[in-house]
Symmetry: C2
Subunit: 225 residues, 2 copies
């Protein structure tokens, strides 16, 4: 038996993994970046094969990882987590530094960053695992806590996007809330659910310029569940 609720007990951080160069860069919100060896310091980054960043990592042979903090803005999460960089330049208007390999490093809401050179690419199915050797690491802000997936889900009420390794089809979860009768509205971009039963204002009474607190999408992008 597989109870998918058990999978929510695993702990992850949330990062912006970026690649490309000064002419065209891209990044995505990742929760699967982790150290795999200490000597030398090597890291693994798990990336959906369909992600535009995966293409750039293969082209440049390098990537950067920005560790973002708990109060990271909805704009940053929406921009890097729920939109595709094949449509627009995600680095435009961002505070970006270029690493030793030339990859962009997003500094907005970042408390630390790492830069890695890819030494191995592993096919694990729908995703690539890129193994990278650390060539640069910097601490930017030691006063703020790193954003974790748990905090994002519990406090920010966010969900994993469809391309994430940890995406869970909601139909697989035991629906403990099925008896609540108030209306719910789901953001069609990021999956965030606005639940009338727990909010002070009903969804239909929200102003028309209200935006999704997670990804910044407009009210009309929500669908009633």
């Amino acid at each position: 038996m597989i109870n998918f609720e058990a999978l929510f007990k695993l702990s992850y951080g949330l990062y912006i993994v970026s690649s490309g160069d000064i002419s065209k860069g891209n990044g995505f919100i990742s929760n699967t970046f982790f150290q795999v060896t200490a000597e030398p310091a090597r890291f693994a980054s798990c990336c959906n094969k369909l992600n535009y960043t995966a293409e750039l990592i293969q082209k440049t042979g390098a990537f950067s990882v920005s560790v973002i903090h708990q109060d990271t803005s909805a704009d940053i999460i929406g921009r890097f987590g729920y939109k595709s960089g094949s449509d627009f330049d995600k680095m435009e208007g961002m505070k970006v530094r270029y690493g030793e390999t030339g990859v962009p490093i997003v500094l907005n809401d970042a408390i630390a960053f790492l830069e890695c050179k890819v030494i191995q690419k592993i096919d694990v199915g729908t995703h690539w695992l890129f193994i990278g050797e650390l060539i640069q690491a910097e601490l930017l802000d030691d006063t703020k806590e790193a954003l974790t997936y748990l905090y994002y889900r519990q406090v920010k009420k966010g969900l994993a996007p469809k391309n994430a390794p940890t995406y869970i089809d909601k139909s697989k979860l035991e629906t403990r809330e099925s008896t609540i009768k108030a209306a719910k509205y789901k953001c069609s971009v990021c999956g965030y659910v606005y639940d009338d039963a727990v909010e002070k204002i009903r969804f239909i009474d929200l102003p028309s310029d209200w935006i999704c607190p997670i990804c910044g999408s407009e009210k009309e992008d929500f669908i009633e569940l």
Copy 2:
């Protein structure tokens, strides 16, 4: 430049990864277990090649992962985190269930567990990355928080053992505490540091039957720094 303090900003959970069978099982505390694909649900476990559990995973082609909670006892952390199973049977006296593949699943202090069949073994240097397909997952206790590496370091003051992917040689860290003059004593088994400057009782005044709060080692296993 590499500032190793930046690496502490990455988030990890802490788990007991086990393998073997009813006649001989073993497990180790791991902070690098994570989902790599959603469809099908696949996970990666990073394991030092010298770990006895690595040998058992290769023999059985399967492993289990117990998600332990924040108040996990020092005995469990010491037993699975800082001792080798080649010397004694770590499963003896533990609350163990045997999975569909026959691997032991540690239930002590566990809030959830997963069982995976190995489908791929990747050499990343000093460690193996085992890619496993999920065959069983169970939620045991939804009331407790999962233990994270951050909590373990900040609240429990623990350090990564030498075989961990995230082990950091202390000489690489910027020693911000170098001006504090009180004596410090280090557990030679797990690396835990007892610092007179922050504790109520000086180390030398502790009773002789006092044990390391992290791994349960005896007072005489501590060395003055």
